[in-house]
Symmetry: D2
Subunit: 308 residues, 4 copies
């Protein structure tokens, strides 16, 4: 499906051409702390399952991975609770924006999928019920799969999000009103905002997601994280639901499972081949990184590495 | 990604086990002619890109492929008009049932994707404008890609659908009212109903879709149908939109691009490997073949051939 | 509630002041025949239950009363079928535009009220089932309550509406698909378009509606049309549903039961006092006569004749 | 419009007949404190503008007037801010249940009218910004128009509502997220819940609303509360919006402006004639008092005192 590829050459070439083009879109404005970021940051890191790495630009700068962290929360909940999680959250894409309350009302408090805000809150509620120390335990999990002790979240960003998170407060209380939240909305939201404030470099991000691309992934303690079937299913959800109401477009143009965040990051992966992280803070109208989408479209075209 | 596989053995095994289980669901009732079908028909055909075939049950009986034909209409329009088609129809999955008018109203007459009824009508409108003899030309196209002169549509079923197609008449006139239809709604609907009434056996269906699975596909006249990129994109749309509001579920459980029809057929394909057609008329609550879904879930699990 | 009033003086004064102000809005464009009307036509006629008449401007010119006729269709169905009509149509205002299909989908084919298009179609379907000669019988009814043999409909306008009525065709077939239509959608629509093409002068319109304002109304044959309770209930529906999604605004500013039409006419009435018809073709953004709304707001303020 | 009426006789007669019929419906369950009420309480009080009073049953027992208080909050805001209030809240009825977030999303945070929860919160936000001591000042206003120092709110009920008010917290934060709330959602909600916990007897309730029925109403200090036009407009809003998605039904069957509360109270008024309060805790499926609706329908039929 894929040509023997000189990844570095292709990355460099696309990186340069996009650098030379106009950098459109808007840095996310609604979280004050995120709005301060340099809009011209642009980094790429590709990590193969054979432990090769290829990079360009600001690949080694930390950024807020935001919603990309939802996949990590989901993975931990899936690991702990197995298929029981699907009783409280669906696996269907949604035709509406990421924080739509309309669909929740229609669906009686069951979020469509775990990658929209409401779904991630329900996942956080599960974790909050089943982890002894929710935040430290979650961070430990991420360090374990990333094989990296330096991963942390930003209190400043979490605090900034909380200060303006009225829509998310609405969403969480709405779900609670339907009975699909076990814990206090305030505590769940607190955990949710902290989780979304994870910071990583492109390299760390690509390496952290290897457990979903590599069937043979083991932690440093030689443990599997998810069964192969579970990992495939999370990839399937990223494919259909990873980009809000641009999920179809991403699938259509890029052809890889992936997840975006409003910090401008995108993680995509080719099962059995690689994980790739792209970061550029300006977002298109659907809330996904303008340059990130562009880069990945050209990348899978050049490498002929769409999964389709 | 895939184990060296004895497809026939696995097909036989799953076929037998499902045969032994209860056959739940309902044969589609709203089209009088379809409601007459024997609910216990059950056939499978798998065609590899290396020209091997594997089968079980009623694989050689003709059935109404219904909405599966929408992929064929889309392919022909994409071939003729290229990316211009995306000006009039989207590529996003929809959270709503297949004939929802709500989303059309929100989206001002631009159907979410070409595999829901409204989107297929817009595709039919394009074909109606650009083909000299819409129906014969469309049938010729299908015969060409299927390398099979015996494929035809059923006038009886088309007529039966027209006699009760109030919802589709509504949909088509609604799109016209937004200005997204060039031709007379009645003529477009006529073509649409005829297209949906295509009849194939499981074998014919699997073979007809090889052009989307095999990068090197050529017709008998040694012609490509679509560019590789176009074929991949149609697969991507099947992946996210092929099963109405159960598309996420299919992606999650089966992990292949595919398309279902209310006649009880499902076509799925593994790029670079195979096409598989399953047929069993009883539908689950979302309108997809009950046994077909079950078969394919077990099949990709056993063969470890999900694309994820 | 009402001061001893010199209606003529007040009408003249408001008429003059509005004539001197800018005539905003748009003549309805979507029906070709209606778009031809002189946008500066402006007429008023007030008819008291004591048989006095007061007028201004183009009160004696015929115009297309359009949706105002829905009240007449409703009255005839209510007279024939009594409260059975409420099994197939509601009495609740709708927050959506007049031809919204969204609400119909949510409400499973039961239109919210008889004064939106869908509701009027269901009423037409009832009349079509119960009248021997639907159109002539309906016209006879209107002539009888208007005590006026010269009332007729315009074939040219009906034909013009049919030629572009895709949204209404969609609506009617959609209702049929839910099973809430007994007859063929095409025949019901035909009757519906003819009904909406009734033409009257302001005087004729005001006089035709006296049967809803005057508890003691009798036809020339000395017959009641509706019971007092029935007439009050139709007035209540006009109050809450007569102006599409501007019904609250009209109730708030004018304070009378009434009904508008896209031809620019408005009929309002004060129970036990008068009927007033205003006509001015330019419509505001909600589809109601710009000058008509303005006139009536000032009129009930000056005369202190809101029913509240 | 109205027969010289023996109100007491009619009240007694209807009261007895309804007492003899089954008491259907459900006491509101979602507020723990309200759920404790005796479901068979049933009281009526009619107060004419000529200072006559007529009563039946438990007319002198205090009950929680709940949403009926929204009309009082609205009146105070209208008095203070005049027509500026309509920049932040509409006057249109809504086709959806009282706490629907869907419509708010469509309308970008502008609630449809001030009598649904969201609209009342925006009114509370205005009062919170403009009153020195929001709760005491509001209570003073109510005492002044009710000419009654004994009116108060129940802290126990307010507290009970706050403990389970997730849907309202969601609603309020949602409005804040659209920028249509000046103050902190928590403070606004606190005031809102206190306001809704006003307690009155049927007599107090009927007397408190006289200022909307009587054009010549003056407080003990001989002050008008609202201009006549303002009072009429509030009545108009009650007519179209006072009973959630049963507003049309109430208008249709009862024909008076009114407002219901989930405590089982209904206040209705006939301009220039009377105010009537009915209380019976069991609610129908739309959340309005089952016996209250029944009583008022029969009452306006017998007295022929619909405003239509």
């Amino acid at each position: 499906m894929d040509k023997a590829t000189n990844y570095q050459e292709i990355i460099d070439e696309i990186f340069s051409s996009i650098k030379a083009e106009e950098n459109n879109g808007q840095v996310a404005q609604y979280i004050p702390e995120l709005a301060k970021i340099d809009p011209n940051k642009f980094g790429i890191y590709l990590q193969t399952i054979n432990n090769e790495g290829f990079s360009a630009g600001d690949w080694n700068a930390k950024f807020s991975i935001q919603s990309i962290s939802k996949v990590l929360g989901l993975s931990l909940a899936y690991k702990i609770l197995g298929d029981k999680i699907w009783e409280r959250v669906g696996v269907e894409p949604t035709g509406n924006p990421f924080n739509s309350l309309i669909q929740l009302e229609t669906d009686q408090g069951i979020p469509r999928n775990p990658l929209i805000n409401g779904g991630a809150m329900v996942i956080c509620d599960m974790l909050f019920s089943h982890l002894n120390n929710p935040l430290p335990d979650f961070l430990d999990f991420v360090k374990q799969i990333g094989k990296n002790d330096k991963i942390n979240y930003s209190e400043a960003i979490a605090k900034s999000e909380k200060s303006v998170g009225y829509r998310n407060i609405a969403l969480c209380n709405f779900i609670k009103s339907f009975g699909n939240l076990e814990n206090n909305p305030e505590e769940v939201l607190n955990f949710y905002f902290n989780m979304c404030s994870l910071e990583m470099t492109c390299q760390e991000l690509a390496q952290t997601f290897l457990f979903l691309a590599d069937d043979n992934f083991r932690t440093n303690e030689d443990k599997r994280i998810l069964s192969m079937s579970q990992a495939k299913r999370i990839n399937a959800i990223m494919q259909t639901c990873g980009f809000y109401d641009e999920s179809g477009e991403f699938s259509f143009k890029v052809g890889l499972p992936g997840k975006s965040g409003v910090g401008g990051g995108i993680l995509a992966l080719h099962p059995d081949k690689y994980c790739i992280a792209v970061w550029s803070p300006k977002l298109n109208q659907k809330g996904n990184s303008y340059r990130g989408m562009k880069f990945l479209e050209r990348f899978t075209t050049k490498t002929e590495s769409s999964i389709f």
